[in-house]
Symmetry: C2
Subunit: 289 residues, 2 copies
């Protein structure tokens, strides 16, 4: 965790008042990480779960509990740490509430629809997409932790040159919590995460789904099996949204996985030692790069 003063970060400056809509794993962890800074900003936050918001205030990581509208109107940087569909809805309903000069961002795993909507709403000067490649299979405020973003890559998607100062503020936020922001275009982002994030999620879910057909419980897994199935505990509702939003980009990765599995399973059934070894060597070469 970076503990430099928040104003020390290069590029933009973290504003003194940060708003967070949603205090789940990502929003809660962001609030905790901001609180851990040497010179923490004031955090306004809202949650659909009143108990979570009370807890965050009691924990000292949220200074001002508010409604989503109150957060939108009261902060110089507003982070929508909500599921993708909820974030889309907030962009529309909050567009007239944000402060002059405030920067707006999200944390979602799919970017094209959101960026297109922000573009259509004329938000190019203030909305910047964010996707932190950090997370856990557990959801909710209870799973949040101050070091969730330490060392993580965060994909940042500005809408265009007019959004430069908003992008710098959003990048300052991620740097302040120890993450590494990197810019990417929305379509390139969605193609990338279909392979490196959504496909591993599908593979882990399919594996745990197959194991659910077995006579064995998860307690019988060794450390390797636990790691391979860890993502399968991820929240179903969130992933339903993500996979539907990126279904077109998932075509090629899904076909590649089905084909790799079919080939390896066929090699095992045929006791084809050379084919098994080749599949393992190719996979290990990629993984160890």
């Amino acid at each position: 965790m970076e503990t430099a003063k928040s104003s020390d970060v290069s590029g933009g400056t973290l504003p003194r008042r940060v708003g967070i809509v949603g205090l789940g794993l990502i929003g809660g962890s962001l609030a905790r990480a901001l609180r851990a800074l040497v010179d923490p900003p004031e955090v306004l936050a809202s949650s659909l779960e009143p108990a979570e918001l009370e807890r965050a205030v009691a924990d000292g990581i949220v200074q001002r509990p508010a409604t989503p509208e109150g957060v939108a109107a009261g902060a110089d940087l507003v982070v929508y740490a909500t599921p993708p569909d909820a974030t889309l809805a907030f962009l529309e309903s909050h567009a007239k509430r944000w402060r002059l000069g405030a920067a707006i961002t999200d944390v979602g795993s799919v970017k094209r629809a959101l960026i297109a909507r922000a573009q259509a709403l004329g938000l190019g000067a203030r909305f910047v997409g964010s996707h932190p490649m950090a997370g856990r299979e557990r959801a909710g405020y209870a799973a949040s932790r101050p070091d969730l973003f330490a060392g993580a890559r965060v994909w940042v998607t500005p809408l265009g040159e007019e959004g430069e100062s908003a992008a710098a503020m959003v990048e300052a936020l991620w740097r302040a919590v120890g993450a590494h922001p990197l810019r990417i275009e929305a379509a390139a982002h969605d193609r990338l995460v279909a392979w490196v994030s959504h496909l591993p999620q599908v593979a882990a879910t399919a594996l745990a789904g197959a194991l659910a057909d077995s006579p064995y419980e998860a307690g019988a897994l060794g450390p390797g099996g636990r790691d391979a199935t860890r993502l399968a505990a991820s929240p179903a509702g969130l992933w339903e949204e993500i996979l539907l939003a990126n279904a077109d980009q998932l075509e090629a990765p899904l076909a590649a996985l089905e084909s790799a599995l079919t080939a390896l399973a066929a090699a095992v059934r045929a006791r084809d030692a050379a084919a098994i070894r080749e599949a393992f060597e190719r996979a290990a070469r990629w993984r160890e790069l």
Copy 2:
């Protein structure tokens, strides 16, 4: 790591001279764990890699470097920490070298062929199979660590009642290094590990194989993707042996995985929200049990 005196463990007693054939990840970790005991036994060991053996002696975890034959003849408990095919060959070639009363075990992931061979060789009173559910995707002495077995389950497969005292000695070994030995019959073991160990390995290898078709490198993975593909870095030669040895028991697990993946991929292609959610909920229920 358990640091009780080795003679404190319940059941059998860890002998004063333990032999380890093979100083890779498992053999090296076992030697390290034994050295870390309050009252460590003397360790005789051999390795096909002379540099590894020299290193282990220099590290102070092996007191007596030896040939495999020297280890077989010099210890009261001999552990074959070798690949499955090498272990099978040693059982035959060493059968007349072991000390009177010595117990013999292995560390392999598939048990039927080995147990049948030991049975045929008349080793029922001294050979006991072991399979520690511990490991890493890295191989070799360099990857070994003293806490590899801490908290791990170790499947123990005696040949029959005549092997009771050998089984107790082998169980004492695993308890001494902090593991939890549990007895199981060879066929039941191989059916179990086909599901909970070999299938996750196949899934991770297929996933990394698919990702090798993408334009992206492993560095683009987030924490979830890294976990889901971690096993793909496992040694190809070892897994070729394991999957071939357990190919019959892998039929049902492989079919279940192919079917789960096909169904989930079809649900994504069809934008079938209910089917996606159901697959995720079912997988999460199993994983969180």
